[in-house]
Amino acid sequence: MTDVSSLVEGRTGKWEVVIGLEVHAQVSSQAKLFSGASAAFGAGPNEHVSLVDAAMPGMLPVINQFCVEQAVKTGLGLNAEINLFSIFDRKNYFYADLPQGYQISQYKQPIVGEGSITITLADGSTRDIGIERLHLEQDAGKSMHDQHPSKSYIDLNRSGVALMEIVSRPDMRSAEEAAAYVSKLRAILRFLGTCDGNMEQGSLRADCNVSVRRPGEELGTRTETKNLNSIRFIAQAINSEVARQIEIIEDGGTIDQETRLFDTSTGQTRTMRSKEDAHDYRYFPDPDLLPLELDAAWVETLRQSLPELPDALRTRLMDEFGLSAYDAGLISEDRDTAAWYEAAAAGRDAKLVANWMTVELFGALNRMGLDLADSPVRPDQLGQLVERISDGTISGRIAKDVFAIMLEDGADPDQVIEEKGFKQVSDTGAIEAIIDTVLAENTDKVDEYRGGKDKLFGFFVGQVMKASKGQANPGVVNDLLRQKLNG
């Protein structure tokens, strides 16, 4: 079925975009997939390299059990089929940062089969995106080409690091859906703890397969844009690739099936290698490794021990705290945000806490360039602030002033309210006195109001609130004003 809303308008009519993603997620292990060298980021050149990773003769790979466990957990988190029997293959190609001359990967029998992810779009609608497979494989080393005019420098620290390649079905129809897919996948990986999802450090990278077609027609020729390391770049690369393909086809040309690179400085994709140079990987089972056989009972144990995942958390936030789908989506994006929220909302007006957190707090942190973990306001402090609004101590407007002070010095809201004399005035005597003064100063307006100009009521409320420096309880002001003006 063609979703009409996501079609792209060309010069000659509408186009449907078809996107499939291959995401490489680094397993959050201490050691590499087949060696005992560290998988940590940021060491000096070739410091995290064993003789296995450097492919010295006679070295044999021995698989890291933790990595197998993380792949299975991820598969379970993607509602995917776990294959109790899988095989490691050699994917053969020559490159300077691949000393073995092949990458150990899984080809025909991967550890995880079909699954799916539910994505939520900005309008609140949801879509299921199919997962074709997940397999374990080795990362390659890193080449640097800018150190020397005629030489490349090779660092093998990443060589042999465990990656999970997660391949989607070509189920996405827009850059927005692709971005939502990667966000959701990253959230699931983080909740599971199987990958840290750090895109800047390369723990999560995506290859985007993009093609366009007339709605309902056969699939067009696709291109693959490699190694995108931010969600924003994924969206940019897709949009630029879609525009390029549509322009070529509308000009009477055809799309070459090729591998492309995304240039972050121009926001455009460019050819990396064409079909003629396409790799012929000559996959075959790695004779150094036996088939990977899993125990069904062990898989079941892992399934039972899975943590709460984003979808379940989101549903719980909606059911338990009455949050909107949108707020619940924002708060369930990562586990720490959800924990922060739950600590703030416990025993308080949960919807109001969510509103303060997503609007005021996130807005302020954004302006200050801070993460939630570095927030000057603690969860219990935001909760207390909301409690003071709920129990009528301060108005919502005054609460913003209190919040601004809390952001500056991390003070408790009660302390700020006390020290700054922000307490809301609900004492009818005090408010009546203010009202009397306001009415005495505006006798002309009082006459107009009584003469039928009802709209002036708002003016009087405003004047009273102003005279009380915003501290008068608006409900009490309304009641008393009405009595005095109409009485």
């Binding site: 292990s29 560290s38 410091e47 003789l51 197998v68 080449s143 020397h148 490349s152 420098y153 056989e293």
Partner: protein
């Protein structure tokens, strides 16, 4: 099954080579080796013979046999997730033809 299998003979002089010159050059490119044109004929013959010989396996009916990935019957040995090696770039680089600041140095490769 068996009626689909071509009848490969072991005749060295078969002029019906299954490996042609284009394939020879493709394999050479994938293996990063250079094959002089005058060697192509010999290699076509030799490789075709080898392929034909292996093709004899096609005569076996394997329709109901699971693919075999291992003959030992052992299960895959595993390691714990513990760092046990590394931190020795000098050893890793000791056989490198060229190195600089603990990097391997190779002729420039840019795709």
């Amino acid at each position: 099954m068996s009626d689909k299998n071509p009848d490969f003979s072991l005749d060295h002089n078969s002029d019906h080579n299954v490996i042609d010159k284009t394939t020879i050059q493709k394999i050479a490119k994938l293996a990063r080796i250079e094959i002089a044109p005058e060697r192509e004929d010999t290699l076509c013959g030799e490789l075709s013979t080898i392929i034909s010989w292996v093709e004899q396996l096609g005569e076996c009916d394997t329709a109901h046999v699971e693919p075999l990935a291992s003959v030992t019957g052992h299960s895959l040995p595993m390691r714990d997730d513990v760092v046990t090696s590394g931190d020795d770039p000098d050893a890793v680089l000791s056989n490198a033809p060229e190195e600089a600041s603990h990097f391997f140095v190779v002729p420039k490769v840019v795709e």
